[in-house]
């Protein structure tokens, strides 16, 4: 038989815990007309919310 299950599945999903001020720090650096390109901000937000450090222990 072919065993297709992946037993050591570490996909457990927990909501990210990020202090709101961390997000504010990203956006409140300059007036809207002097902000870095939106793509750059996107990568910074992604880093903040998806880095492994942001996922708490179960």
């Amino acid at each position: 038989d072919i065993d297709m299950t992946d037993r050591v599945d570490d996909d457990a999903i927990y909501p990210a815990v990020v202090a709101p001020q961390r997000l504010t720090e990203l956006f409140d650096t300059a007036p809207s007309f002097a902000m870095p390109p939106v793509e750059e901000l996107f990568y910074q937000v992604t880093k903040l919310f998806t880095s492994k450090a942001a996922v708490p222990a179960p």
């Binding site: 007309f33 390109p37 992604t46």
Partner: protein, 449 residues
């Protein structure tokens, strides 16, 4: 009474973005038109899209137009032109020609009284500069409810800090909706500019973050209802913005909002899948890379593994996908996305005999975007597919031949994953003789070192 009317008229006429009230009160429309038209002409030189307004709200004739003398329909038409002009001028509010041109609309058509919401939203990306405070200083006593939170700043004539805008957007949906509608309408009309997108994306992202925090509840029924409320509030905006392929910066701004929403919110698989499908329906070459990153964040939060048909089809259309994923995978965890794609591609082979995805699976297995465990499962799925595919979907046996050669190449590859594949062959106890016969190809001799 007459003297009171004259006084009121004079007071109204003294509201200006440029001139002191005393000076403004004494200006004739003819003098003003000369000054403001100069600003408008300069704008036309900067951007020819302004030119059509030269025959309407900036025409010679406009000097003699008075809102009070105009019919309701004429007023509505005027409002439309003013809205469109303001959206286009938004990009240039730090330039004097734009301020001069808007001065005309304030003095002649009193847009600060009749179009208060639009002019305030237009100036919002510039809420930190003196021009914004000047605008606050000439607003009528009663401003629309959606901007009533600016009253303390109107009284004290100081710029509202960004935190005030974020707080309002988090706690009062009407403000967030007004800002979103304005931004999306501007993008639809191709009149967007970076400051507006920056303002909207930042406020929207922080507001969604704040609303998720606010909506947390230990009671699941309340949590569910809060989640629903939030989805009703932002869902339609995201849906509309994600498919605006002519405005990649707006799409990327949406990816930012979605990243926070997916990472923090408790989204069900249906919602996540819908967002993934909307995302790939709109992405373009300019939004593809961040789009893939966002797609992978969504995939990470989904419990179902296999990518849907729509997402799979969209990924199949991406040029050089394995190289792109390998590159993006250096900084981001693309495991679940790549895994889900491989599973969907193998499923297509088995069910439909559609092997277009086979050339993608091989490089993905070797690109280190999958974990060893995921790579093992995908390889096992390939072995299984080699058994499953029959004459029904593969009349000529071409697919089986392709599958076999892929399996062989992979099992011979000089890399760490080779052990994973060998392990998979051992685990599955694939009878290579039988497979060889089924696939009508000489596997065993080539498998031996």
């Amino acid at each position: 009474k007459t003297s009171l009317d004259v006084k009121a008229q004079k007071a109204a006429h003294s509201k200006s973005l440029i001139f002191e009230p005393r000076v403004a009160a004494s200006q004739s429309f003819q003098t003003l038109y000369g000054i403001c038209r100069e600003g408008f002409d300069e704008l036309c030189r900067l951007d020819p899209r302004f030119a059509p307004f030269g025959t309407t709200i900036f025409s010679e004739q406009s000097q003699h137009e008075d809102r009070i003398q105009m019919t309701e329909a004429e007023n509505a038409e005027l409002d439309k032109r003013v809205d469109s002009f303001l959206r286009l001028a938004g990009a240039r509010l730090r330039l004097m020609p734009a301020i001069k041109a808007i001065e005309w609309l304030i003095r002649r058509f009193r847009i600060h009284e009749y179009n208060t919401t639009t002019i305030l939203t237009t100036f919002l990306p510039y809420h930190t500069i003196p021009a914004f405070v000047t605008l606050l200083s000439i607003l009528p006593k009663n401003i629309p409810q959606v901007y009533s939170f600016l009253n303390p700043y109107i009284k004290s004539l100081i710029s509202p800090p960004r935190a005030v805008l974020v707080h309002r957007a988090t706690h009062y949906p009407d403000f967030l909706t007004t800002l979103s509608t304005y931004t999306l309408d501007t993008c639809r009309a191709q009149q967007q500019y970076p400051a507006l997108i920056s303002l909207w994306s930042g406020i929207m992202t922080e507001a969604v973050n704040g609303m998720l925090d606010k909506g947390r509840s230990g009671r699941s029924a309340i949590q569910k209802s809060n989640d629903q409320t939030l989805f009703h509030l932002i869902g339609p905006t995201l849906r509309d913005a994600l498919v605006m392929s002519k405005v990649p910066s707006l799409q990327i701004a949406c990816y930012m909002v979605i990243t926070v929403y997916a990472a923090k919110g408790d989204l069900d698989d249906g919602t996540i899948s819908a967002l993934m499908e909307q995302l790939v329906a709109g992405w373009t070459a300019d939004s593809l890379r961040p789009g893939l990153v966002c797609l992978s964040t969504l995939a990470q939060r989904r419990s179902a593994k296999q990518m849907s048909a729509k997402v799979t089809r969209a990924l199949l259309k991406v040029q050089n996908l394995p190289e792109l994923l390998a590159d993006v995978g250096k900084d981001h965890d693309l495991g679940k996305l790549a895994n889900g794609l491989c599973l969907a591609l193998i499923d297509r082979i088995c069910r439909k005999g559609d092997s277009r995805g086979l050339p993608l699976i091989e490089p993905l297995l070797l690109a280190s975007v999958l974990s060893q465990q995921q790579a093992g499962v995908i390889f096992k799925s390939l072995l299984l597919a080699a058994y499953k595919v029959d004459d029904h979907v593969d009349e000529q046996g071409e697919i089986r031949k392709n599958l076999a050669s892929t399996i062989i190449r992979l099992s011979q590859v000089e890399s760490d994953v080779r052990d994973v594949f060998t392990q998979a062959i051992n685990d599955t106890q694939v009878d290579l003789d039988e497979l060889e016969m089924r696939l009508d190809i000489q596997i065993r001799p080539r498998l031996l070192p």
